[in-house]
Symmetry: C2
Subunit: 337 residues, 2 copies
DNA sequence: TCGGTACATGTTTACGTAAACATATGTCAA
DNA sequence: TTGACATATGTTTACGTAAACATGTACCGA
């Protein structure tokens, strides 16, 4: 078995076409003047010997790659599937390719991941959230890459942030629940509270309760990833306590759906016995027997706009001033609150 | 604004540490002999000047990268979110990074995508399905990269396939529905029928109906991506026809859930008025008011095993013989059939 | 004492490409 | 007729790294 794979280079194509390597380069990249005759000859020579460009060499020489680094906290939530889809769609339009990694909501892992991704010399990087360590900030500054931050706008963007106000989402949820007459709340979260966006929502939520004189009985935060099962289990625990809330605020729809499942199976009435609210507005909520009150977020659009910004042609620096693009959210009033 | 970003190289680190560039390379890669004293000096020098390796140069020189190309048909279905998560988890363990692209179920786009991904000189490539054009096959063979194919095992793998028998899944669904007494079927698909795995399920399904003398009244295939909304709309159309089926086989759970929604809202009894079956066994089905009969697939595990195979150490060629790993599936009998 | 070997570091070179610069020829306005 | 400029191609070089080869010291057994 022949193990050494020698792939054809521009030199091979050049030999075949009877031109110089540089001419092949020009044909491949459509740069500079090339006669039609030579162009055709080179192209068919390349085709014939199965030439595939070497992006490593290209990137090294030109000090430029069509790569965009993408840092996501997890793939375990369809939220980031939508975001990644938006990013991918936008990048594809610009001929860029995403290279991604997940941090599992750890700022420390983010440091290592960012450094690793930057070693590919991407032309841009998309980060999740606005909170990053100094290490990450310095590494990005030193790399001189474009930056976009997604999901959140509460804070100071490095360059451009595309997201929504997580705090405002928490406030809006609290106001809605308070308006419905609920006074005794429990918060349910996951990921050991490492999800900083969820933390901001909780903060806005708490602040609003405090101002209204309502009480947050407890904050139940699982050390597991969020899932319907976990939400169901936690809800069951909470409702088994002697001191019961009249409303539960979940950090996302998966957990909240678990809550709905528990209530349905136990014959607990929503919102009379217990009110529930989630966050995200995932499509599958449409199919549940009872509509969850939640916050609809522009997940795909956040990804798409961040991808569009980060991969725009390099001469277009019309928008390089730091700023936040707030895509907003919409409170959906369901039947659970 | 200083636009030229000159990033430190191994030479810079070498100068700072008073050693040669090659010594820096040895320290960074932990190869060869290095005294503890020099190692520490180099590491702190690198730290101090913020050195980040250049993987383009490294890959070019060593003719080897830790990249794995991943070709998926879409990100618009949470199925591939699970698959990608499995792949990512496995690759992360091996220090590899996925570079992915989507084909939108087009073999032609696959050709272009594979060529583009191969230009990054990945050490392996994960493809979806077993059907590929000769162009793609040749390109992969010429590149000499490892290959894994996922989702399907009905056919001849290039090297290793990790999946399930799509045909058998179609057969199993048909048998179950026939056993429940249904005789007049309609099939509902999406993506203009470009999803070849869905096509194989349909083929197994059809064949089984034929053998049983049952009839497939029609195959309704949307030209849109699959979604609950589309499934609902199509179901509504089908049930408005004069010739009605007594059972509908959907190409996936999203479409089937749309069917459930339509029936629930119209007061159509499942499975008495109409029986429904889906495919995938997505988690949100657990929360629906009526349990969908479907096929549970090992999505994460397919990704993980393919990732594990493709990124295993290069000297481990213990399993380089072409073969298929059938992870199987499980028919879940819900309340819709 | 000699030679082999583990240890430790340096020098030269090549990976495949594109930027920078060089060299023509042809065309067209002054 | 000149020279400015568009067109068309070639030559040299550098991008940052690691493989290959070279050099030198220390130690250990024969």
């Amino acid at each position: 078995m022949n193990n050494k794979v020698t792939r054809p280079t521009m030199d091979d194509v050049a030999d075949k076409a009877g031109v110089s390597q540089m001419t092949v380069s020009r044909v491949m990249n459509g740069k500079g003047y090339i006669s039609k005759e030579v162009r055709d000859r080179v192209k068919s020579a390349a085709e014939e010997i199965g030439y595939v460009q070497n992006r490593l060499a290209r990137g090294l020489r030109s000090e430029k790659t069509p790569l965009i680094a993408v840092v996501l906290p997890t793939l375990g939530n369809s939220v980031f599937n939508d975001v990644l889809r938006g990013i991918t769609d936008a990048l594809t339009d610009q001929g860029c390719r995403p290279v991604f990694g997940v941090t599992e909501y750890s700022l420390q892992k983010e440091d290592a991941l960012v450094r690793d991704l930057l070693s590919w010399r991407p032309s841009g990087i998309i980060l999740t959230g606005l909170e990053h360590s100094d290490i990450t900030r310095k590494a990005i500054a030193a790399a001189g890459v474009r930056v976009a931050e997604i999901m959140d706008v509460d804070g100071t963007p490095i360059s451009v942030a595309v997201g929504l106000s997580q705090t405002a989402a928490g406030v809006a949820t609290a106001k809605h629940m308070l308006a419905k007459g609920h006074r005794r709340f429990v918060y349910v979260g996951s990921h050991s509270g490492q999800d900083l966006r969820a933390g901001k929502r909780l903060e806005g939520f708490r602040q609003t309760l405090r101002e209204a004189g309502a009480s947050l009985l407890s904050q139940d935060i699982s050390d597991k990833p969020s899932s319907m099962m976990e939400g169901r289990r936690m809800t069951s625990d909470i409702l088994a306590r002697s001191v019961k809330p009249d409303a539960i605020y979940y950090s996302n729809d998966d957990l909240a759906t678990g809550g709905i499942m528990h209530c349905l199976s136990e014959g607990i009435q929503m919102p009379d016995d217990i009110a529930l609210a989630g966050f995200n507005g995932l499509p599958f909520l449409d199919a549940l027997p009872i509509r969850l009150t939640t916050i609809e977020t522009p997940r795909y659009e956040m990804g798409r706009q961040a991808g569009k910004f980060i991969s725009r042609p390099s001469d277009d620096d019309s928008e390089n001033n730091a700023r936040a693009i707030d895509l907003g959210f919409k409170l959906f009033e369901g039947q659970t609150c």
